[in-house]
């Protein structure tokens, strides 16, 4: 999609801050580390750099994130997880040749991975090597690592001149990503090229409808953000609730984040609860729901969502430290100690966490 590798919530609302969990990482949200073949080599330095890299990717600060992963790799060059994330950062930065080399290194370290194959296919596509892109993306398309695999495969076929095969894969992509206007636009163009006018018209209509919805959402978010900054909550609420879509987890998460960013935690609760019902694998939704309960002093209810968030993203320091704090607030000092020790490994520079840990350890000795 025109040199842009950002996807998911960040792609749907590319100009919008994603709130108190930070912006959704371009790949991180879809590439849980556990899925990447890993060679476990522990080391506090490596882990801390890796965690910071993950955090920076979440904030879309890819240059800085790449630096952290590089440092992690300087401690342990054989860590495929760090190398994989480093490669994804490089791709995000448009350093495609370097990214390719890193992905190839990951393959050497950890063997074949459909995630790596997917990214190498994307790189082929960006390099206009359609034959290789088709081969790679085609090899993972039946068990796709990401929902947009069929889309990129379709684009590769179309670009290579095989409109029929491209159309077939774009049709599949439209089923997998029914609300992505870009998919419907490409499919409409493919139908137009094949002189399939009726089907093209249908897809253009869908594209137009989804594009309009997207633009309206952008406007609603601007109005909501502006209202939350400048108006009383009651006045802002009306604008914000235009974003509410009970069937769209991304929009619900976004709405929760906007409320959360403005400190309106009570307002954030309902959309985030609904979001995790719709998408049980959304790290952002779980994390933000946990934050929201936490900020409302509802520690018992915060625990579950934060545990879920940590399970989805064990390297994300923000979730881990907040889970530790929640356990602490619930009086489960033993569990809190374990979690906060992990948080401290992820971010040894956090003096406050270190201080709390010190107190907990002292109390344990008592």
């Amino acid at each position: 999609m025109t040199g842009d590798v950002t996807r998911n919530v960040a792609a749907l609302f590319p100009i919008i801050a994603l709130g108190f969990a930070g912006a959704a990482g371009m790949s991180q949200a879809q590439v849980p580390s556990a899925r990447v073949p890993s060679v476990q080599v522990e080391g506090s330095g490596t882990e801390a750099h890796f965690s910071r890299g993950v955090q920076l990717m979440q904030e879309q600060m890819f240059e800085a994130a790449a630096g952290e992963f590089e440092q992690a790799l300087s401690v342990n060059a054989a860590d495929p997880k760090a190398r994989f994330e480093f490669a994804v950062c490089l791709l995000s930065l448009g350093r495609n040749d370097e990214a390719r080399k890193q992905f190839e290194q990951v393959q050497k370290l950890a063997g074949e991975s459909r995630y790596v194959t997917y990214y190498l296919g994307r790189l082929d596509l960006l390099a206009n090597d359609y034959a290789s892109a088709i081969k790679r993306l085609g090899s993972v398309a039946e068990d796709p690592p990401f929902p947009d695999t069929a889309f990129h495969l379709g684009v590769a076929y179309i670009s290579s001149g095989d409109v029929a095969a491209g159309t077939k894969w774009l049709e599949r992509a439209a089923k997998l990503l029914p609300r992505d206007y870009r998919v419907h636009y490409r499919l409409a163009r493919a139908y137009s090229s094949g002189r399939r006018e009726q089907e093209a018209a249908r897809e253009y209509d869908l594209y137009t409808q989804l594009r309009d919805e997207h633009k309206n959402t952008e406007k609603d978010v601007r109005d909501c953000t502006s209202g939350l900054r400048t108006e009383p909550l009651a006045a802002a609420r009306e604008a914000c609730h235009r974003i509410y879509d009970p069937n769209d987890a991304d929009k619900l998460t976004l709405l929760g984040q906007l409320f959360g960013d403005a400190g309106a935690f009570a307002e954030a609760l309902d959309p985030l609860k609904r979001a995790v019902q719709l998408d049980a694998n959304s790290f952002e939704a779980w994390h933000n729901l946990g934050v929201t309960y936490f900020r409302l002093n509802r520690y018992k209810e915060a625990r579950g969502p934060l545990e879920k968030a940590v399970a989805l993203r064990p390297e994300f320091y923000g979730s881990v430290v907040l889970l530790g704090a929640t356990l602490y607030m619930l009086g489960d000092d033993e569990a809190a100690l374990l979690v906060l020790e992990r948080a401290h490994r992820l971010n040894p520079a956090d003096a406050q966490t270190a201080a709390v840990l010190e107190k907990l350890r002292g109390r344990k000795k008592e």
Binding site: D4, M61, G94, L126, R186, R189, R295, V321, L322
Partner: protein, 589 residues
């Protein structure tokens, strides 16, 4: 003890984890910039480029700056958009003259700020004949289209601007007369006319007039700089718009043949669509059906394609054609449009320029009004740094393959103080055609004038020194224009074609000539406007590479088809509709 510790802990978390504290994406600003990262640059081809450009404006006598608002800031979008330029032969002496539009200051008239006409002295210099020609005028001029609307053999001028447009009739004696009112082209109130093009949409042999309008503008009603998210760029308060302002509809005027025009905007269907932020308008037969279509670059709204139904009405088919948005279905900040045949397959393709952090869009014509966005495939995604304006698909080195060129410049001079990576003045962009649908950006291989930084807007291509290559005229904001003289080495041959209509309009605007040479077929259209709000040399220029002859097929706006075989290279041929070649000229050098 425990309670105190918990409060401390909560405070820590409130500061460090929950709530704000994560990076926030930039506000969108008023332009459709997509934040696209450039594609990596490939290895240089190592091939020599045989064109060299030198800015000879000062030597040529083009020393007066083009005033357009204050030079250090742009408080209003009107001050930021600049204007077009034109190459024309107003006195029919066979040498291109120059017409430069101008703006002014909001506060009041600026001494010396006027549209200017420069007569070609045929020795590389020009003489300012503005006053003698009766063209002194100060205001916010925007676009220009050149064409012989009354078929008297002399090129007339139509100028858009705020708050009124102007029609100048060429009297044939070196002077012009403002006939706007008499022609029925003045309008009540204030309107911001932007793009304009002569077009014989009904094939009656007379040039009609299409005008795009940008947005509703009033100095007293536009929000102040930095007022809302549409008035910010990278966190810096800037002029507002176009997003957040009120878009406009285009207009179409029918030429009655008696010096007057009738507004047919509604009747033709041009006025029935949703308003947009229309800028450059180009008329050409895009679907090859013999009827002139109109392509309008729109700024941050989908661009428009008016397909001529052949019955006096148009159908808007931007989306269906693929020319409205980019390949992902996103609208872009359309500024300039170039029409040409970059892949020499005999069909007219299009190049559209946009805002910074976005690519241009190169559309390949696949026939039947289906265009493919081939921007990334062509290798153009490497350049996303600058705001692009006037552009051209033109064979600059006479190798037989049309190259791509555009000028650049920021609309927000205030931004570079905080973000040096977004300078106000930026270089020109040149992509040489490698063949096979691929291009290569030349950063310093085409002469110093390409790398020079200006905040440019309009651009026109033409051979002002009649030496067999294409030179480039550029409008620079609050600076004198640039005149890039092209000195081509390498021995590539060329053919120039001047078309004169008889049944068609005398300027032959809308004619398509396809040259066959060296195994290629390259189509070119006679355009009355192109680039950004500008107008180039009406004489078509074909680089022929090593070929020494070319065959020509012409489709005249009247529908008449004509073929000319075995034309010798390195000549200007004049073809009169229905009469074939009526003149040949070899240039001195």
């Amino acid at each position: 003890m425990r309670g105190v510790t918990r409060r401390e802990f909560l405070a820590i978390l409130a500061a460090g984890t929950a709530g704000a504290g994560v990076s926030r994406a930039q506000e969108p600003g008023g332009m459709a910039s997509r934040g696209v990262r450039p594609q990596p640059r490939g290895k240089p081809s190592g091939l020599r480029f045989h064109a060299r450009f030198t800015d000879v404006a000062a030597h040529a006598g083009l020393r007066a700056p083009v005033t357009y608002g204050p030079s250090d800031r742009m408080d209003y979008i009107l001050e930021s958009m600049g204007c077009g330029v034109a190459f024309l032969d107003y006195d029919n002496d066979g040498w291109l003259d120059i017409f430069l539009l101008s703006g002014t200051h909001r506060e009041g008239p600026v001494e010396g700020a006027t549209n200017r006409l420069y007569k070609n002295n045929r020795d590389g210099t020009f003489t300012d004949v503005t006053a003698k020609a009766g063209l002194v005028r100060q205001g916010w001029a925007c676009g220009v289209t050149v064409g012989d609307y009354n078929n008297d053999g002399f090129e007339d001028l139509f100028i858009t601007g705020w708050p009124q447009n102007i029609l100048y009739r060429n009297n044939g004696d070196g002077t012009f007369t403002d006939v706007t009112e008499a022609a029925g082209l003045s309008h009540p109130g204030k309107r911001w006319g932007s793009g304009c093009t002569w077009v014989d949409y009904d094939r009656d042999g007379r040039l009609d007039l299409f005008v795009s309008n940008y947005l509703v503008f009033d100095f007293d009603k536009i929000p102040a700089t930095g007022k809302d998210p549409n008035c910010n760029f990278k966190g810096v308060p800037v002029n507002c718009g176009p997003r957040g302002l009120v878009p406009e509809r285009p207009m179409l005027y029918h030429n009655n043949g008696d010096g007057t025009f009738t507004d047919v905007t509604e009747r033709s269907g041009v006025g029935s669509l949703k308003p947009g932020f229309g800028l450059t308008a180009v008329a050409a037969d895009l679907d090859g059906d013999g009827w002139q279509d109109i392509y309008v670059a729109c700024d941050s709204t989908p661009s428009l394609v008016f397909r001529n139904r052949g019955d006096g009405t148009f159908a808007e088919q931007g989306l269906l054609s693929g020319l409205a948005v980019n390949e992902d279905g996103n609208e872009q900040a359309g500024m300039g449009i170039a029409i040409g045949d970059f892949d020499t397959d005999g069909r007219l393709d299009a190049l559209k320029t946009h805002f910074a952090e976005d690519t241009v869009a190169l559309y390949r014509n696949a026939g039947h009004l289906v265009f493919e966005d081939v921007t990334l495939r062509a290798g153009l995604g490497v350049e996303t740094r600058y705001v692009g304006w006037g552009d051209g698909i033109a064979d600059l080195d006479n190798d037989g393959l049309p190259d791509l060129f555009w000028v650049t410049g920021s609309t927000f001079p205030e931004v570079e103080r905080k973000h040096p990576e977004f300078p106000h003045k930026t270089p020109r962009v040149l992509f040489r055609n490698l063949g096979g649908g691929r291009f290569e950006e030349l950063l310093d291989a085409a002469g110093s004038a390409i790398a020079e930084a200006h905040s440019s807007r309009g651009v026109a291509f033409g051979d002002f020194d009649n030496d067999g290559d294409l030179d480039i005229l550029i409008m620079n904001m609050n600076e004198p224009p640039s005149l890039l003289r092209n000195d081509v080495r390498g021995g590539g041959h060329w053919l120039k074609v001047k078309l004169v209509g008889t049944r068609s309009n005398a300027s032959a605007i809308g004619a398509v000539a396809t040259a066959a040479y060296g195994g290629r077929r390259q189509a070119q259209a006679v355009l009355a406007a192109s680039g950004y709000l500008s107008c180039g040399d009406r004489r078509l220029h074909f680089g022929l590479g090593a070929a020494t002859t070319a065959d020509l097929e012409i489709v005249w706006p009247s529908g008449v088809r004509e073929s000319v075989k075995g034309l010798r290279a390195d000549e200007l041929v004049t073809v009169k509709e229905g009469a074939g070649v009526v003149a040949r000229e070899r240039f001195r050098s």
